[in-house]
Each structure stands twice: as structure tokens, then as C-alpha cells.
């Protein structure tokens, strides 16, 4: 069913319906800024020249944002956005992650093969053209593909289609792509991520999370039409800030029922699972140094995930956050109920989605165990065995990893952990528990399967594989037998989950269409990893019974380092040697990080933070723990964007890294 996106009745409704936007909320497209709200709150609205300048200075990194900051193509982003590329240009003799890197001259700048940055040259609303093509019988996808194909012919620009408002608008974005990008400067990991995983997502914060790069064209530094001027003065508490960048993905249209499912079922289930996993890995790590090394990265990643989802759950359980979502939902439902077409389209979709949550709740433990990428049940050898069972001849070799004794022991521990989860989450009477355990203890099953299987031995595995699919199907290898038990049950769960998801997606799409019909562009579209502007200000929030300080300083960095000492918690607050040596030369009162009320999310990392004059006052690098609900809703009371202060970068470049040429270039 197609629906008109705006009817005359709706124009009247629109005057009545308010989208319940909150102060500073929104990741807005450049063609549709909330000028009235900006004017009312901050007495400032950017004009077209301001916007063009910011857009042309903005860059998209593979998983983040950046910007041009000099006429010679110097580029600023976060250290963590550039992390993998810094690693890429490191080698056995040069650990630029640990030691940092400063190119003393342009010739020393390090080219990163494969790294491409994108600069948004133009945007075009193609909704009408697509709808026209749809009328001639094409599917929307076909219409978009055809238009893109035409567009790409003979253009040096990279063209991408962007679907906004869940299909309410279709756009064509044209990018200039830069493929010669070189590393200019990166601080040491210990200062870029000071406080390590402990301080991640937290505030007050002291991370010098930046890195510098240069775009070259034809072997020469590129001279961009627009680059951001570096603010010497920086921002003050209360100053308006504008963030220009590429927020990745939000789900702000989820219904209350979906959010409640996350709160009551999904997140608790996930946290229990992660807790089992970290306990398993900690026990494994405690055996000896080699074991500890083997699992340290996985353990860190699980601890990090635990923190993210525990934070999200904490926020979800705070009644106020859900209260606002509920109000917005009621308001939209009331508007939809007033219009017969919209009522037909979406009137009962909220209730239908709510009904779906019952099945979703029943399926959740099996879905997590059998389909999640982070399950400890279906992974490594067992996952390989499942792939073998499903494979045609051609892919038989993509299968089971070679494992040494230590790795095999780890797989035993993880499989036992997964089997325990089956037993604890599903109960001993569940068909899956009975199929996998048959009344035996999880540890015993895991041990027997992994010890008795011949599939971990390359020679035995080759022999089996040489027998082809038939031999595999008939093999009595215990790992393959376990996989055979699992397979039909897993297939069944996958089918049920897919059917349920399709049903919910359909309802969600109807709600999205109804919402666009009611509010139109008075609201912002969900994030799509494309250029957006968010407005806000340097702003405190209530924290620990007092107010969070709007800035941290170099003095605060050393305070935290002194308070913990260099060894505490695996050297989480250790300073690089250079930062210890140069301490006396730094001005303690120089701002280091600061917080703003801008509405950002993953993908915005590396976004420039601008003042009204379009000057760079900071660099967005994270959100506080309270911002973890930002995927679903924006709470202006405590959702905060964390920024590296532009003054901190300048002071560090000048006084710690002796990078005078770069300082000159920035001040130019």
C-alpha cells in the first residue's frame, strides 16, 4: 500500500501535532534545520554560506568523521577512528600505537594504502523521480539502482543513495573521494585513551583522542576549497556548539513495547550471557601467563560490552527516559487516530508490535544462543562443523581452525560455558538441552567432544574432507554429531525469528510512514552515516549529587594520574614518558576535554565541534554513560557529547610533541 506523504487534512493536523522534540535534540540534514528552535534557544542560525563551508570542510572516514583543517589538506579526526590505520603503518620496529608518531617534515608523512576519505559535494532530493519510476512499474530498489547507474556514468564522483525517514524521502549524495591519505601525527595510546577501558564512556575525562592526516592529490598536498579555522579562544561554558559529522545509526522510532522488551528481556539476557563469558575467560586467564595473553583481548572486549549494555539497562530502568518515549508515542497515536487513512495504515501497528513481543520473549534465549555472533555455543570448531554439514563441495575447506593445545582448552571452556547457558536459560527439559546434553554435565560434554573429535587434527580432517559431503554426513565424529543434533533446531529458530522480524519490520514501516505523514520534516530522520548537523552548547549536568564540571584541564589529567599512580588497574592511568617529562612546561589550567548537549552517536567520532563563526573549538570523541540510551531517545538533561578541546591539541602539539610546523599550519 502506498500512502500520500502529505494530504490537505494533514496540513491542518500538522498545526495541531507537535513532534515533542526536546531541547537540542536531533541529527539534522543540512536542507532541513530546526531554525526556529536554534534561534529561540541560542539566538543564532547558520546561513547557507556557513553550511556550505562546514559541509565542504567535513570528511567521512571508514567508520567515523573528520575535517579539513588547513589549506594544505591537513585532516583532523579521533585517534580511535584512525587506530587501525596507525596500526597498519606500524611495523616490527615502529609501534606507533604505543609510541605515537610525529612527521617532522612532509616527506615523513606515512601513506596508508586503502584508506579513502569522502567529501560531500552535493545532495539531491530524488523522491519525486523515484516515485515516478515506481509508477512505471519498477520496484523502489530497481528505480534507485537505475538512477545511480545513470548518475555514475561519466562522473568522477562517488554517488550513493540515501533513504531518509524510512523511505519518506530518497536522496542522491555525491562525494569526492580521496585515496592518498597519509598519517601526519598521532599521540601515544596511553594519552589518547587515558583511563583505558575504565574511563571509556565516563566523564570527567582526559583523553587526547585526536590524530592528524593529510590528503594528497597527484603526489602533492591537496588544497581544499574549504577548511576549518582553528579557534584560539575555544568555547566557554554555555557557548553554542555545532557538530558536523556522520552519525551512524539510531533507532529512535522503536515503539515503547520494543524498548520495554530490551529492558525486560534482551538486555538482562545479554548481560547474563556476557557475565558467564567473562567469568569463564577470567578463570581461563588465571591458569597461567600464556592463557592470560590468549584471552586478554576477548576479555577486554566482553568487559567493554558488559559496560555498554549495563549502562543502557540502567538508563532504561530510569522511569523518566521511558516516560518521554511514552508521551511521544501517545501523541503520535492520537494524531494517527484522527485521520482515517493513517488509522487504516498504522492505527493498530503499535498493538501488533506489542503482541509480537510475547513471541520475541519466548524466542529470545534460543535466538541468543543459536544465532548471535557473540554466543559461546555456536563458535569456533562447532560453528565450523555446522558449516561443513551445510556446505556444498566447493566450500568444504572453509571450516574448522587448526588449534594448539591451549586454544583447544579455550574452546572446551567456551563450549562448556555455552552448554551451561543452554541448561540455565532453557531448563533441563527443553528439547535443545536434551539434544545437546542428554542429561550429562556441560563440562563433560564439552571435554569429550573436543578431545575425541578428529577434526582439529589437520591430517584426520583432510582425510574426512577428501571423502566429500557423503563422508561428512555419515561421519560419527562427536563434533559433527553434536552439530547434527543442533542443526535442525537452529534452523527452526532462525525461521521463526525471521518471520517475526519481518512482521515487526512491516508494522514499524507503517508507523514510520504515518509519522512522516503527520510531522513531515518537523522532525529529523534516523541516522544513516551521512552528514548531519546537531546544535547544542557547552553544558553541565547533574552527576553524583553535584554538577559535572563543563571542562577538564591538564591539571585534572595529572590529578587523575597522580591519584591512581602508574601501575593501578593494569596501568590504566599510566602517562607516556613524554607527558611525565614535559609536565612542568604545560599550563595546568588549559582545558583538556569538555561536554556539550549536542545529540550525537557512533559515527560522529572525529566530528569537528564548531562555534557560531564556524571555527573549530573541539573534536567530538565519545558520549557519557548516560548517552547510552541515545540510540533510542535523546535526554537533554544528561545526554552529553564529549569533546577534546582545540586548545589542548594545540598545547600538546607545541609543548609535548615539538610539532612546531603543524602548529604554524593550524594557526595560519
Amino acid at each position: 500500500m502506498r500512502i500520500p506523504f502529505r494530504s490537505s487534512i494533514l496540513l491542518t493536523l500538522l498545526a495541531l501535532a507537535s513532534p515533542n522534540l526536546r531541547a537540542d535534540e536531533g541529527m539534522w540534514t543540512f536542507d532541513n534545520l530546526p531554525l526556529e528552535q536554534m534561534k529561540a534557544r541560542y539566538g543564532f542560525t547558520p546561513d547557507q554560506a556557513w553550511l556550505d563551508h562546514a559541509r565542504l570542510a567535513a570528511l567521512r572516514f571508514p567508520h567515523g568523521s573528520g575535517s579539513f583543517i588547513s589549506s594544505d589538506g591537513l585532516v583532523l579526526t579521533n585517534h580511535h577512528v584512525g587506530h587501525d590505520f596507525i596500526l597498519q603503518v606500524s611495523d616490527a620496529g615502529h609501534d606507533y600505537i604505543r609510541d605515537g608518531f610525529v612527521a617532522k617534515a612532509r616527506a615523513q608523512e606515512l601513506k596508508v594504502p586503502g584508506l579513502a576519505l569522502k567529501n560531500l559535494v552535493s545532495c539531491e532530493n530524488i523522491t519525486a523521480r523515484i516515485e515516478q519510476a515506481e509508477k512505471s512499474g519498477k520496484s523502489r530498489q530497481e528505480a534507485i539502482e537505475a538512477l545511480l547507474a545513470t548518475e555514475r556514468k561519466g562522473s568522477a564522483l562517488a554517488c550513493e543513495s540515501v533513504s531518509l525517514y524510512q523511505g519518506g524521502e530518497e536522496w542522491l549524495y555525491r562525494y569526492k573521494v580521496f585515496t592518498d591519505v597519509r598519517l601526519v601525527m598521532a599521540p601515544e595510546y596511553d594519552i589518547a585513551a587515558f583511563g583505558k577501558d575504565w574511563d571509556n564512556f565516563s566523564y570527567p575525562r582526559h583523553d587526547l583522542d585526536f590524530s592528524l592526516w593529510r590528503v594528497y592529490e597527484n603526489g602533492q598536498p591537496y588544497h581544499p576549497s574549504d577548511f576549518l579555522k582553528w579557534s584560539e579562544k575555544g568555547a566557554a561554558n554555555g557557548d553554542m556548539t555545532l557538530v558536523v559529522g556522520h552519525p551512524g545509526r539510531t533507532s529512535r522510532l522503536e515503539t515503547l513495547a520494543q524498548i520495554q522488551f530490551r529492558r525486560d528481556v534482551q538486555n538482562p539476557l545479554l548481560l547474563r550471557s556476557l557475565d558467564r563469558q567473562r567469568k569463564t575467560l577470567r578463570a581461563f586467564a588465571a591458569k597461567n601467563g600464556e592463557s592470560a595473553r590468549l584471552v586478554s583481548a576477548a576479555l577486554m572486549s566482553i568487559e567493554n560490552g558488559y559496560k555498554v549494555y549495563a549502562g543502557e539497562l540502567l538508563m532504561l530502568r530510569d522511569g523518566k527516559a521511558l516516560e518521554n518515549m511514552e508521551k511521544a508515542e501517545q501523541r503520535l497515536r492520537a494524531s494517527v487516530a484522527l485521520d482515517s487513512k493513517l488509522k487504516d495504515l498504522a492505527g493498530n501497528c503499535w498493538d501488533r508490535i506489542q503482541e509480537c513481543q510475547k513471541t520475541r520473549t519466548e524466542l529470545a534465549p534460543e535466538e541468543r544462543l543459536l544465532l548471535s555472533r557473540s554466543s559461546t555455543l555456536v563458535r569456533g570448531p562447532l560453528e565450523g562443523a555446522l558449516r561443513l554439514l551445510a556446505a556444498s563441495d566447493a566450500t568444504l575447506k572453509a571450516g574448522i581452525p587448526d588449534l594448539d593445545v591451549e586454544n583447544r582448552n579455550l574452546e572446551i571452556a567456551l563450549l562448556a560455558c555455552g552448554l551451561r547457558e543452554v541448561q540455565e536459560e532453557l531448563g533441563s527439559q527443553h528439547p535443545l538441552t536434551q539434544a545437546l546434553l542428554a542429561g550429562q554435565p556441560p563440562e563433560e560434554v564439552a571435554h569429550r567432544v573436543m578431545i575425541d573429535t578428529t577434526l582439529l587434527d589437520p591430517a584426520a580432517r583432510k582425510a574426512l574432507l577428501d571423502g566429500g559431503p557423503k563422508a561428512i554426513r555419515e561421519s560419527r565424529d562427536p563434533l559433527l554429531q553434536l552439530a547434527r543434533q543442533l542443526e535442525p533446531l537452529r534452523k527452526n529458530v532462525r525461521q521463526r525469528v525471521e518471520a517475526l522480524t519481518a512482521m515487526m519490520d512491516e508494522h514499524s514501516l507503517h508507523i514510520a510512514k504515518a509519522r512522516f505523514a503527520v510531522y513531515g520534516k518537523a522532525v529529523y530522520p534516523d541516522a544513516t552515516f551521512t552528514l548531519r548537523l546537531s546544535y547544542g552548547a557547552v553544558a553541565t549536568y547533574p552527576q553524583n549529587g553535584t554538577l559535572a564540571q563543563p571542562f577538564t584541564t591538564f591539571g585534572g589529567l595529572y590529578d587523575r594520574a597522580d591519584a591512581w599512580g602508574p601501575a593501578a588497574e593494569d596501568a590504566s592511568w599510566a602517562l607516556p614518558a613524554r607527558w611525565v617529562q614535559r609536565r612542568g612546561t604545560l599550563t595546568p589550567s588549559t582545558p583538556f576535554n569538555f561536554i556539550t548537549s549536542n545529540d550525537i552517536i557512533g559515527g560522529n567520532s572525529g566530528s569537528p565541534v564548531l562555534n557560531r563563526q564556524g571555527e573549530l573549538v573541539g573534536l567530538a570523541f565519545d558520549g557519557n554513560i548516560e548517552s547510552h540510551l541515545g540510540r533510542y531517545t535523546f535526554n537533554p538533561a544528561n545526554n552529553r557529547c564529549l569533546c577534546v578541546d582545540a586548545r589542548a591539541i594545540l598545547e600538546a602539539l607545541a609543548k609535548v610533541y615539538d610539532a612546531d610546523a603543524i602548529v604554524q599550519e593550524l594557526r595560519h
Copy 2:
């Protein structure tokens, strides 16, 4: 009914019953320390010499704790414990609160008339003697009074009786009292209470909350037998800490039902009332500068109260805190159920207390409105009118204050606020609402009563008072008429509340007796503003998604001052001029405040924090926001004691206050 405190069956039970004490929990009397727990957790137990030394060095201030810290009778406590006495010795020309005070020589030390400090010389368990006297027919109170009277005859020491374990033990405490106490040194309020009301109860913290005093005897500095040695090294993260001081009052024996009443009824009611009051006062303050000045202290106090009870409510709503209370209660109930005598005594008391909460819930709004000292209904002129109605001739004059126009306007606003609370909390059909408002708007009633009354005019009031009680009873003055409406309703509520409280107290006492019978002295008694020891360690806790730093530093103090600037939030983070000027001379890494897991509460302010050697490493001055539940329960996961670091005091004395003689004396 009297019950034996220990029977032979109970000795068996005792082995089974564990009091569910948590790590580092307890404010212990010196005769009964949890030596096994201390040994197990920290490998240290203080011996008798350690304890005698600490006790003889400890002092009790009128509302806090302190200690001798030199052979010349120098005394250390908090700035906030000494605040009123510093104010007392200030005068028009000398504002020692604002400017601080340093006696450069002993002759300059300022005597504080009326200030008396107490030093606990000996303690004696008099339970057996009291029980003996009871057998001869005396009431417990009479027996104690008689013993105290005998004791006081011919003794220079001040004797006090102390009832521990809700009467499970009676003790006699003998104090040496010092009445010549002089102010030696006090820092400026701005550094003693840096962060003002905002940072109060919060952490990380930067308060130099100390003051120095000297005890004199016969006009000469007193030489105490014991004083605390100042630790030059201070404490490190994880080091054991022992706090010796006078915790004021805890209610750790409240039943779960009583705590739930606080959570679900009392605190929300109180917070709604405080919120109405602060809104009223804010609106009043917004009129003009004079109005703002008039209410600023009251407003600050209400904001502070709001923060305390909102913090407490937040903790009460955290399921985990109540979970532990519930477990402890179930364990005790199970033990009581096993012994027929105890079952008779207290078996049904928990249920009875729970039943009482229903009536308590019904009564709560009226109790708050009519009987609470912080009610805005019964206060000022109306309270005076009620006193007039109740008074005999002799006290007629103690009554209604003289009010200027501004103060009268304030009373109108507050009475209207109280009447609105009546209307909103009780509903328009409630007898109290009907009696006070008779269908009229609260603002109109308040205005009419306060404008039309003649009682605020001294001459008219005198004329009425001259008529005696009869004239007052028959007066048609609107304020007296309102009081007459209120009076019987108030009396009724008071009687019902008193009856209910007496009933609950009786049940609580039975539970306390049963508890003492089961656990004996395996537990600590509720706080009684007498000398206790609590053990713990310098310890972090989870905060904002990371770990709270165990120490703050001088660098952190300046970080917070720089981050806010001197003007923000009514100069909450402004530094005294001396601290701005001397910044360069201070070592930024010197620890300033630190946190420990010691179990303390109000009254402990000013307590010395000792290491194993009995040396002073810090000065307890506050608890974190999470410690607000400490009145009812102790949560080792995040209940933290906040301390000024001994090294911070020394550094400030030497480098900011040029108090070299004091530094010499401390290092002696």
C-alpha cells in the same frame, strides 16, 4: 516483660545464627571489636595499648568529634564542626569564616566561651547493677539516675549513662571535660567548603575541612597523656584505616516495612513538600534583591534538605540495598522462630509493624502538615496564634513575631504554600481542607488572614493580650479564627500519631531484645554519640561507569576551580585570594581528600583516621551521596567515608598559611 538476654538454648543457637555482617560494617564499642573480621580482612587487630592511646587522644565536640594532636594540647577537628565557634569569636571587624584565622603566637589564640570538649577516661558496664536495682523495685530509669547521682558525688569527671543494644547493656561513661578551648587556626570558608552546597556529599571532593584548637588548663596549654602522631607518609590505596569518633545516631534495626514506608510514602511526601517550598521561596526571591536576601538562607537549607532526601530515596529505590536488609531480617526471624521464648516475645512483631504502616501511610500527609517542624502551614504567625490559644496567662507573651511588610508578604506566601499542600495532598473533601479553605483558593485565604489580622500590629496585639485568655478565646481576629479551626484537628492527629508511634516502639524494642538474645555482641549497637571504632581501607567504588579515584590532589582542586571559573553558580568554586597567589608554591600531586570504606555517620565529623601504627593519616569530614542510606544500612560496595588527607593539611599550613610554628608542633 523482662527477658533473659542469654539462655542455654540461645548459646547453641548463637553458633547457628550469623548476623549477616558485611565487609567493614559497624561502629564498634572499644570493649567489643570484631577482631576476627579485622584479622581476616586486613591481618591487623589493635591491642589494648593501641586502643587506650586512641581513646585518650579522642575528643567529643558539641556536635562532632576531634582529637589531641600535640603534647601542648593542640586539637584537630573539621572546619564545619568548629564553624559556629569560629563565628562566635568573629566580630564586625574580623570575619574569620570568610577570611580564615591563623594565630601567629599562642597569645593570639582566641578563647571560645562556652565551648567544652570531652575526653573519655573510663567506661564501666553497669548492666548487672541496674538489673539488680530493678529487682528491688526501681524502674530502669530510676536505677540509672540513682547510680549516676552517687557516681557524680565527689568526682571531677562528667558521668553519663549509655544505653546500648536498645537496653541490652547499660554503661557508665566518665569524661574529663575541658572548658578553656581556644581557636588556633581556621582556613577560609571558600577552601574549607570548596564547591559549597553543590559539592556537599559528593565525590571527587576538594574540601580543606579542618580547623585547629588548643585546650588550656589553668591558663596554660594542657599536656594530654596521649596525642596522635602525624603521619608524614599518609595512606596509600588499599591501606587499612581506623576511624575513632562519635557517630551520632543510626536506625539500623528498622524493619523492612519501616524502610519501605520511608521509600514509598514518607520521602516522596517530604520531597513534594520541599519542592513546593523551594518554588514558593524562589518566586518570592525573584521579586527583588531585598526579598532574595530575606529568604536566601532558608532556600539554601531547603535545597540542601531536598538533596539529602532525594539521594536517600534514590538509594532506597535501588533494589540491592533493600535486598540485604531483607536477608538480614529473614535470618533473624528464622532464629527467633526456633526459640519459643523469643517467638513469644517478638515472633509477630515484624507483622505488627507492617500492619502499623497502613495507618502510618494514612496519617502521613496530616502528620507532615500539622506536626512537622518544617511544615509551611503551622509556622510563624499561625503557630503563634495556636500557642496563644493553648497558653495560660503566664506565657501569653511568647507568641507572635513582629513583622515588617516584606516579612508579612513572606508569611502570606508560605501560608498559601501550606494551604495548597493541604488541598493537594488531602483533597478538597478532607475535613482539614474544608475547615481551612471552605472552598476558597489558598492564596486568597492566606492573604485575607494575614492582612486582616491585628495580631501583627504590636499595639493591637497588646490590647488583645491585656484582655487575657477569655478575650483571646472570644476574639474574631481571622488569624485566631483560623487557629481555632485547626486546633482540634491537629490535636486529634497528634494523639493518633503518638499512639501509633508508641505501638511501633514497643514492637521495635521486642525485636531489638530478641536480636540481642540471638546475636549478643556479635553485632554492634546503634550509634549513641559515644566513642566507637570503625575499620576499613582506602577504597575506590564504581562511579559513572568507571572507578572513583581513591585520592584527589591539589592539582585536582585547581582543575575544578579552573573548569568552573570563580563566578559560576554563585562563586561555588571560587578560591580564596591566598590560594590563587600561592598556587605556584604548592606541589600539585600532594593528596587532598581521599575515600575509605569506614562505616561512619553524622557525629563522626572531625574523627581522626588512623593507620595501623595509630598515626593520623586523615580527618573524616563527610560521606558520599551513596552513604545516605547509612542511617539504615551499610553497603560496602559504595558507602564511602570522605577524609581530608593529613598531607594536605601540612602542605597548606606550610605553604599557604605560613604557619611554621604549627607545622613544627605537628612534626614534633
